[in-house]
Symmetry: C2
């Protein structure tokens, strides 16, 4: 049986994580190590200046072993791999996130960062998100994740890579298929609202209307808009190799 570690950034009590743990428990020994509360947009933050506390926490409706941590998604995976688990898991799953993680937004995503942490340790890692806000239902996404794990566990998972999976929020019969994609573009306009507090002092609040480039065919943004499940391979080495020679030719001086 597979050994699978599950984490997320919405917190251990979120429906997306619980539904995923229930589905995956049918095919694997599942350990959940997840933040004790919502940690969205913490990106790859790690906790260096505070102790981390770990508490056992039951996952309703399944026999998965659960631990909640007062840290970020990255903390959870680091701690699981290096202190809590007896042996290295066969796979790390992060999610299922409530809301898409697409395009340039992946850089802010705690869901994706947790998967990166798994991949950095050499464990096949998958980030899972459902492209919807509000009252999301995770049953289809969790069942798909289960079938995906079964299929992927038989493949040669690429090194220094993780898979970022986004599932459209639509009826099962409307799912158009699976698209292997590249990251698309999401830009924001009017990102900050300038407001005045009850004492007359100015503050700013991040708002921002997303402008998605849905015309970039083959991108994750395009795929989800067209009801495909999007799978994007994400790299760990952030070097932009094709620019190295250009910069060398600049002949910069000390």
């Amino acid at each position: 049986m597979l050994n699978i570690l599950i984490t997320n950034d919405d917190g251990i009590n979120s429906a997306g994580l619980i539904t995923l743990a229930q589905a995956i428990s049918k095919i694997a020994n599942v350990t959940v190590v997840a933040p004790d509360r919502e940690r969205s947009a913490t990106a790859h933050a790690i906790t260096m200046h505070k102790p981390l506390r770990v508490e056992k926490s039951d996952i309703p409706g399944c026999k998965a072993l659960g631990y909640k941590v007062n840290g970020t998604p990255s903390d959870c995976v680091k701690l699981a791999l290096e202190a809590l688990l007896d042996s290295e898991p066969d796979m790390v799953l992060s999610g299922i996130n409530r809301g898409a993680n697409l395009g340039t937004d992946v850089i802010y995503s705690g869901t994706v960062s947790a998967a990166i942490e798994g991949a950095l340790s050499g464990v096949p890692a998958i980030a899972l998100s459902v492209a919807a806000r509000g009252n999301v239902e995770f049953d289809y996404a969790a069942e798909f994740a289960k079938r995906l794990c079964q299929q992927i566990s038989k493949k040669n998972f690429p090194k220094d890579t993780l898979l970022n999976v986004n599932i459209p929020f639509t009826k099962q019969e409307k799912i158009a298929g699976i698209a292997v994609t590249h990251l698309g573009t999401i830009r924001y306009k009017n990102s900050f609202e300038r407001r005045t507090d009850p004492r007359g002092k100015v503050y700013y609040w991040l708002a921002g209307e997303a402008i998605e480039d849905i015309n970039d065919k083959g991108s994750d943004v395009w795929a989800v808009k067209n009801n495909f499940i999007s799978i994007t391979p994400i790299l760990l080495d952030l070097t932009k190799y094709d620019i190295i020679d250009t910069i060398r030719e600049w002949n910069l001086e000390l």
Copy 2:
């Protein structure tokens, strides 16, 4: 005259930022928008659920305009570009960080993330770090940064890229030169210490001894160990393009 935005993750009162602002002020109109306190290892975290406050803050020893923000480095750059600055700056500088940002560690770095935020908005961006802990002296690094900005402002800065610069902490005459590098490898062993608190409860604290692969010639880790100033181009598009076809050939099913 150039218009340059400076930020960091060590906070607006850190010596690395102040020394940099003083040096850059000699060649540019400088605006500093930086966290009001240390924000190391916040990575690319952004503040969505709280208001951000901005306060004017003098930068000692120079006429740079300063603002401190109760947010992360990424918040600072976003806020500067979208709300505080009258026009887009010619360059974003993040640093000078106390401590190297090398190899796989860049993913955790608030210094690098602030530069990424600039690059995402299309502004040439440079992350600057001095490879030392403790009692660091930033004068040489700041003067080098000044000369680097002057040289780079005359080049065609590559799109969707930022430069990650690490300066060895050594005497000026020992600097071996400039190396344009790729990101090397840093792994950690024994990352968590398991301890017991005064009330007998277990906690974990991130420790970890870094294992740097200094034999990877041409990497940033190698360069700094050999007293080169390392310049690494970092990409914004995290897609691992060379794996897309492999995953397509897996023929995954719904």
